[in-house]
Symmetry: C2
Subunit: 198 residues, 2 copies
């Protein structure tokens, strides 16, 4: 067995898979994940079905990859070491990164919320990763409270309020509309960080 | 045709319908609205199917009534005249009322968010009413900004952040768990109002 680890072609594969996700996400958004099959995804991505199957063996694999990939990128930001940063600045960076991913970059990483679309085994993996993300965000809130940068409050519940505000954008935000992702990002990070301060 | 407008029996009918909703909501929450039929609702409410049909002609009618009734109660609170109240206090009352409805009283007024479960014609009525509610909440935020009680900010976007945090509770809150509705209500209203202040 020869292991090929050509990072340039791996990069190309990833870029191609993300382009397919972007096309699929637009279709998911318009009609719901459940209503879209591999044929519609191939059409949206302007690929032949055979070509699409080269990148993703099934819709489950595609949805899973989308969710998993989004969560990895969110975890990268929230786990980045920042020993001297203020809690408010760290949290702002996390909020902005999640919104960039949800509203803009992957055009529907929002799919990371639609775990019901996945079969049990894959769903459990995504839910575990999402829980890890929530714990990491909460840890920033807790550190801010401990350092008295934030007011004393229930870190678990305010973290849920904060993430709820971000997640809910999947229900109302429409790419290409009047409101830019940057405007949402600014208003949300100002508001959601200010609420924590003393 | 004799019109009976006996308000006592109307009150009884409403109470009975709400008790059925509460039972249905528990089933909806556990398995999703789509998966539950009139038979399961009858079982959950400990009624015979014939008896259930006396109160609701169809599942659509039941889901519509639940959503419509919840929104009416939310609108009552947000529309209550309060000429001298501070914007922060008005908003706090609105947040607490919506959470009481979502987490506690109707045990799943959360259904008001699942508009996809409704046929087109009914869905449009609910969406219009929900939009009216959002506008009323935004008007409180705008008034607070105008009176300089709140910081200058994008009222539309912060209202969406605020309502998103509330709506998202439908995705994670489990009645009867460790966290009381009162604790959520306190933490959320403190946090979501504080973020608006200067």
């Amino acid at each position: 067995v020869v292991r090929i680890s050509n990072s340039r072609s791996k990069g190309r594969l990833l870029a191609r898979r993300r382009a397919i996700l972007r096309a699929a996400a637009t279709a998911f958004r318009a009609r719901g994940i459940a209503a879209i099959g591999m044929r519609e995804i191939a059409d949206a991505a302007e690929l032949s079905p055979a070509n699409l199957y080269y990148y993703f063996k099934s819709k489950d694999e595609l949805v899973y990859f989308c969710q998993d990939h989004s969560l990895d990128r969110m975890l990268e930001v929230v786990d980045a070491p920042a020993p001297k940063a203020k809690s408010a600045d760290r949290l702002r960076a996390v909020i902005e990164a999640q919104l960039a991913l949800m509203l803009d970059e992957l055009d529907g990483a929002a799919a990371h919320l639609e775990v019901d679309a996945l079969p049990e085994r894959l769903r459990e993996k995504i839910v575990a990763k999402r829980d890890r993300y929530e714990r990491a965000v909460r840890a920033i809130v807790e550190a801010g409270i401990k350092k008295r940068e934030f007011a004393k409050q229930d870190a678990t519940l305010v973290t849920r309020a904060l993430l709820g505000a971000l997640n809910w954008t999947a229900r109302w935000y429409r790419p290409g509309g009047r409101t830019s992702p940057a405007a949402v990002s600014r208003a949300f990070s100002d508001y959601l960080v200010r609420g924590l301060l003393k």
